[in-house]
């Protein structure tokens, strides 16, 4: 594994959006080597915030700090060697093979006179094997299933070899099994390879199960942030998502999960199912 320097990413009094601001006065820093999940109801501004952290959008006020300097003042190619982005629903040109797609991640490391180096080749190979896509390398991306395709896109941002990786809803529209595989891959990138990941997630239980740090947003403002054990509470789910839910602790993983209370009651619990412990808020 290539050694990646520790990178500090911080959002400082940030207001951003399109013509009109959508995110207001956001303040937080991202822990290195951790998986941070941005969650919130539809339209709360979590994707907008991520886009501003990836310099797709400019701040209206405040700033994003990457390695002690304003991210939006740094040359974009320089930033691309520090921070990678996987946008929501990326498009692969028809006919592009997986290897060619992953090779695009090397763009910020190349120049007119340095077109394709041994490091580029090694980075692509490493990204393919980390995402378990080596066997798919010569197939066209458009011929793959949703989960395989998403692994290839993750391989592309990995080939970029940046300390920070931002992902916008990488698990949306995927089967639960595929979601779990992808989130395990992302967790291992953070914990075993020291990458810093910021992920916009839709699934609350997935976020609670996999994230080291949760940031909850509502109406463009940060509502709560912290370890899932601290902030994945009944009150927060009610106030941020307007969701009435029980918070349970899974006896196997020790992770929290929520079950909406407005579901039909089942009177006789099956005997072989371990009963989750109800966590009182």
């Amino acid at each position: 594994m290539t050694h990646l320097p520790e990178t500090l990413l911080r959002v400082d009094q940030l207001t951003t959006g399109y013509q009109d601001p959508v995110v207001f006065d956001a303040n937080f820093h991202i822990g290195s080597g951790k998986l941070t999940a941005l969650i919130g109801p539809n339209g709360c501004g979590k994707s907008t915030l991520l886009k501003c952290m990836a310099r797709i959008l400019k701040p209206h006020q405040g700033q994003v700090i990457l390695n002690n300097a304003n991210l939006h003042d740094q040359p974009t190619r320089h930033v691309a060697r520090q921070l990678a982005l996987l946008p929501q629903g990326p498009i692969a040109p028809e006919g592009l093979t997986v290897r060619e797609l992953v090779a695009q991640g090397r763009y910020p490391h190349q120049s007119l006179f340095q077109q394709w180096s041994r490091e580029d080749e090694a980075a692509v190979q490493e990204a393919l094997s980390m995402t378990d896509t080596v066997e798919l390398a010569d197939r066209p991306v458009s011929a793959l299933s949703g989960g395989q395709r998403q692994r290839c896109w993750i391989a592309m941002v990995l080939a970029q070899q940046t300390p920070v990786i931002l992902l916008d809803e990488p698990t949306t529209f995927l089967d639960m099994r595929v979601q779990v595989d992808l989130l395990n891959l992302l967790t291992s990138l953070a914990h075993d390879h020291g990458r810093t990941l910021v992920v916009v997630l839709h699934e609350l239980n997935m976020a609670a199960a996999f994230a080291d740090h949760l940031i909850m947003m509502k109406d463009g403002r940060l509502q709560a942030q912290g370890h899932p054990d601290e902030i994945f509470t009944r009150d927060n789910l009610k106030s941020v998502f307007n969701l009435d839910a029980q918070i349970l602790r899974d006896p196997y993983s020790g992770r929290l999960m929520c079950v909406p209370t407005q579901v039909p009651h089942h009177t006789t619990p099956a005997a072989d199912i371990a009963l989750a412990e109800v966590v009182q808020p």
Partner: protein
């Protein structure tokens, strides 16, 4: 360098070989057919006393060079347009450049009563540039600014408008039209080297820029956000690429009139063989475009000998079935 790249690099050499063969074939065809050997001799052992050598070098070579350069320029311009707009139907004509060049030529000859056609290349290039500026101005006033979509839409609208004006002028002034008929469908005939000198630097700059910028076209074809994430300055790079398209198209129109179809068909043909990475699509489009227009121009001079058909008619006649074939084979 991995295997596919080595393959592509040797493929490029092969493509260059095909262009050279097409060039020799092109030089051998004409009012008087010459054997390939004589054509090669005219370059390798030039003999001033040999009339055939003079024919090849002074009369036929300019036409062959123009066909090769125009073919390469239009194919590259089309590939760039398709990549930047992510629209497989995009080609240089879509930005209104071809129609602008045609309108300028027609106006010059009918309304301003220009007597000779020697200034036609310059007028056509100016027309193409003015059309580009007009299309850009209209598109940049759309909400969201000059995006590829608004540029394509305003280009299509203005093309239709220019075509309508040309038709009106046609009805009013039949005579000018007879004089311009050959030029308006596109032709590489009757140009000499002095005219090529004007367009050549622009074409070479445009082609070189396209090859240098090609890797970022692949990134742009994956969507703006992905490209921005890879460190590409989106707005600036798109402006550079569109400028490249305008330069290549305007200098081609100046040499050969509004030749259609090459910019549309050649990039698709290239994709069938080498895939979707613009690092390779751009140089291959240049080679295939050059070989295609050379071949088409040979056919244009062969079918009704000793007369010839305007090259622009053959590009469309061959291009249309080729495109239909491509559509079918891609759908399968």
């Amino acid at each position: 360098m991995n295997r596919t790249q080595a393959y592509s690099a040797s493929g490029l050499l092969m493509g260059l070989g095909i262009v050279l063969v097409a060039m020799v074939w092109h030089l051998s065809v004409g009012a008087k057919s010459l054997p390939f050997g004589t054509v090669l001799e005219a370059f390798l052992h030039f003999d001033e006393g040999q009339f055939n050598h003079i024919i090849v070098r002074d009369l036929r070579l300019p036409r062959a060079l123009i066909a090769a350069l125009v073919g390469a320029s239009l194919a590259v311009a089309g590939a760039l347009m398709q990549g930047v707009t992510r629209n497989p139907l995009a080609d240089p004509a879509l930005l209104g450049l071809m129609a602008g060049a045609s309108l300028a030529a027609v106006l010059a000859l009918s309304v301003f009563d220009l007597q000779s056609q020697t200034l036609l290349p310059v007028i056509a290039a100016v027309g193409a540039l003015l059309a580009a500026i007009l299309v850009w101005t209209v598109a940049s006033r759309a909400p969201g600014g000059a995006t590829p979509l608004s540029l394509t839409l305003s280009g299509a609208a203005l093309s239709a408008f220019f075509a309508a004006i040309i038709s009106v002028l046609h009805l009013l002034d039949q005579q000018t039209f007879d004089a311009l008929r050959g030029w308006l469908v596109g032709s590489v005939a009757g140009r000499d080297l002095s005219e090529l000198i004007w367009s050549l630097p622009w074409m070479l700059i445009g082609l070189a820029a396209a090859i240098v910028l090609a890797p970022s076209v692949t990134a742009l074809s994956m969507g703006d956000e992905q490209a921005a994430g890879l460190g590409i300055p989106i707005t600036r790079r798109k402006a550079q690429l569109l400028l490249c398209v305008v330069v290549l198209t305007a200098s081609s129109v100046a040499m050969a009139g509004p030749l259609g179809f090459i910019g549309l068909v050649i990039p698709h043909l290239v994709r069938l063989f080498i895939g979707s990475d613009y690092r390779w699509i751009i140089p291959y489009s240049a080679l295939f475009g050059a070989a295609y227009l050379l071949g088409v121009d040979v056919i244009a001079r062969l079918v009704v000998r000793p007369q010839e058909i305007a090259t622009g008619l053959i590009t469309a006649m061959l291009g249309a079935p080729l495109l239909i074939y491509l559509v079918r084979s891609r759908l399968n």
